[in-house]
């Protein structure tokens, strides 16, 4: 599906507003939209709302063989999925230019800056290391996906706990969270990407562009930085001509924004930790706003199910028992074998014959009884409570029978074989 095109007058309006230092949502040029960070039920799941842009990150881990070039380092894998939910222009499973750009920037921001201690993810050097996978899904695109994705990814990494492992000799045991507390990743610093958009050949600069602004901008500059004012990556895109002074100015703004966001992330992480320690429930279900008119929630509801059984019985009875009659077998000409559905098997199989003629001894008779009984059970299934009671008695009898039969098992099989051999000449 194609994205809705932006009309010329809309474009002119936005540009004119920017020239007058005004923005559509009433922000100042260097203002960020409101950031909200919430966590999922399990570790390593994080939702970030940046204005109306919404992003989800989920971290998962698995034990894999390391890369040959780095036998004692864990593997980091990042994937930004542009879900078609976020925007009609996104298509599932297609590598668009935007997705390559976002993925590479996230990789550069989080992997190349070495913010995660990959050596601590090694379990057995050269054989087993942890692969940490970060999946970021876009849920709603209202501009500046990169910043939202980088905040979500680093927060989810900070929130994530991996299972503890023990090594005895050659064996690696992964402990479940009940056995041993899971371990957080060791993170050195938190790089956060900040986007700047340029308009009118770089004359105007905006922080955190929304979707409309992104459509009319000339170019974008993304600076990833941590709170120690260390730049982790810079990337310019779009056909703009930057001047050195502009880059320097952006890096100064980025430093301020990064320290604000880092504080917010650590506050959110702390809140979540205290909530989890207090044993309170957390997760998406809990974070749903209650006061909004569009939201509603009910408590656990019990259901009246007294007549369910009767209803089911009614239906089953009305439907009637499935026809028991087997389609009459075609009688083949003598000497013709036939195997097919619904027909009797006329290949000379001895066991079948035995079951059919019941002129045999008592043991054999018991055996067939044993086989038929469970079928009967199913037919009368669940009618009323009484039946189940009586069935239980039967079960007791059956078990005693089988134990009694076990002793005779040998002799009976002997007899069977004898009977079979007797019959063979008949045919």
């Amino acid at each position: 599906m194609k994205d809705t095109p932006l009309s010329n007058c809309e474009r002119d309006f936005i540009l004119k507003a920017i020239e007058e230092k005004k923005r559509l949502d009433g922000r100042q040029t260097y203002d960020f939209r409101r950031i909200k960070i919430t966590f999922g039920t399990d570790y390593g799941c994080c939702f970030v709302d940046l204005g109306k842009t919404r992003v989800m990150a989920q971290v998962s881990c698995e034990l894999v063989a390391p890369k040959e070039s780095r036998p004692n380092e864990g593997i980091m894998f990042f994937n930004i999925e542009l879900s078609p939910m976020a925007s009609p222009a996104f298509e599932q499973g297609r590598q668009s230019e935007l997705s390559v750009k976002l993925n590479r920037q996230l990789e550069r921001c989080l992997r190349n800056s070495k913010c995660i201690d990959t050596e601590s993810l090694c379990v057995v050097a050269g054989e087993k290391v942890w692969q940490i996978r970060v999946d970021v899904s876009m849920l709603n695109n209202d501009g500046n996906l990169m910043d939202a994705a980088s905040v979500a990814a680093i927060t989810a990494l900070c929130h994530f706990r991996r299972p503890d492992v023990g090594i005895q000799g050659d064996e690696v045991t992964v402990y479940s969270p009940e056995e041993r507390d899971p371990i957080p990743l060791s993170i050195y610093h938190m790089p956060i990407s900040i986007s700047f958009s340029f308009f009118q050949q770089g004359t105007f600069l905006l922080v955190d562009p929304c979707e409309r602004e992104e459509r009319v901008m000339d170019g974008l500059l993304m600076i990833a930085m941590n709170k120690h004012r260390e730049i982790c990556s810079i990337q310019s895109s779009g056909g703009i001509m930057l001047l050195k002074e502009q880059v320097m100015r952006c890096s100064k703004i980025a430093a301020v924004k990064v320290s604000e966001i880092t504080e917010l992330i650590s506050k959110a992480l702390l809140n979540d930790r205290t909530a989890r320690k207090a044993g309170g429930r957390c997760g998406f279900a809990e974070s749903m706003p209650q006061e909004r008119i569009t939201a509603l929630k009910t408590d656990e509801t019990l259901m009246e199910t007294s007549d369910v059984t009767e209803r089911a019985n009614d239906i089953v009875e009305k439907a009637g028992a499935p026809p028991q009659t087997v389609p009459s077998p075609l009688v083949p000409a003598p000497g013709v074998g036939q195997v097919s559905q619904g027909q009797q098997n006329t290949w000379g199989l001895q066991e079948e014959d035995e079951d059919d003629d019941d002129d045999d001894d008592e043991q054999n008779g018991k055996e067939t009884k044993m086989e038929t009984e469970p079928q009967e059970e199913e037919k009368g299934a669940g009618d009323v409570v009484e039946i189940s009671d009586s069935e239980e008695e039967e079960v007791v009898i059956l078990t005693s029978e089988t134990s009694g039969q076990a002793k005779n098992a040998d002799s009976s099989s002997h007899q069977k074989r004898a009977a079979a051999s007797k019959r063979r000449p008949k045919k």
Binding site: P84, L139, A285, T294, T301, M303, V385
Partner: protein, 219 residues
């Protein structure tokens, strides 16, 4: 043997929020216990020529798993949901157009398919698409003792002998779609359907309440 204990027949607390995303034409999140799903609907919109159907709208359902790419499991669930939606949506009112329903797993704690269905219905309602009836999803599990558990958690699903999900319409409480796993008798199946129909009443009441709440204030 197959008598259900009333204590097991309950729905976990459930909730929903509509119109929470700005881009899609209709969106909803549905929560059942810890299981949560987000749904977004785009359409009716322009359709690709290759997918065009001359007398009705083309409905596409996409499921986005939480980790990794969609697998065969997601594809089969997409199919189930698509058929349910096609049965209730009046697609012939929008010929030569496309409807896209995207479902994102937020957390899976059992009864995922029924949660998908409920979220889908709420999102379709939010998008204002004409439907002949509403539908809801109910998952029933039969545990090894033969007890029926409605709206099971992931742990209960794992222990169960059979797992069934039904989509039920609101007009006549008929079954629109069923997806089953494991072994069970005809009687058990009928019992589960009856339980699901009971449960659907609660869910439809919830739909009605939430929509009433949403439109309770006039502008």
């Amino acid at each position: 043997m197959e008598v259900c204990e009333s204590s097991k027949v309950s729905l976990r607390e459930f909730g929903c929020e509509q119109n929470l995303l700005s881009r899609p034409d209709g969106s909803a999140s549905f929560v059942q216990g810890d299981t949560s799903v987000m749904a977004g609907v785009y359409g009716p919109a322009e359709v690709k020529v290759s997918k065009e159907i001359y007398d009705r709208a083309t409905l596409e359902v996409l499921i986005q798993p939480k980790v990794g790419l969609p697998t065969v499991r997601e594809r089969s669930q997409e199919q189930c949901i698509r058929e349910t939606c096609e049965a209730s949506l009046l697609l012939s009112l929008h010929p030569r157009s496309s409807l896209t329903l995207v479902l994102q797993v937020l957390h899976d704690d059992g009864s995922l398919l029924s949660c998908f269905l409920n979220a889908a219905c709420m999102a379709l309602m939010d998008a204002g698409l004409p439907m002949s009836c509403l539908f809801c999803g109910v998952t029933c599990a039969i545990n090894t003792d033969g007890q029926i558990i409605t709206d099971p958690t992931a742990a209960q699903e794992k222990e169960s002998r059979a797992l069934m999900t039904f989509a039920i319409d609101c007009a006549k409480r008929r079954v629109l779609m069923s997806s089953t796993k494991g072994s069970f008798s005809v009687h058990e199946l009928q019992q589960c359907i009856a339980v699901s129909q009971k449960a659907s009443e609660k869910i439809f009441q919830f739909y009605r309440d939430s929509v009433r709440r949403r439109y309770s204030k006039n502008l």
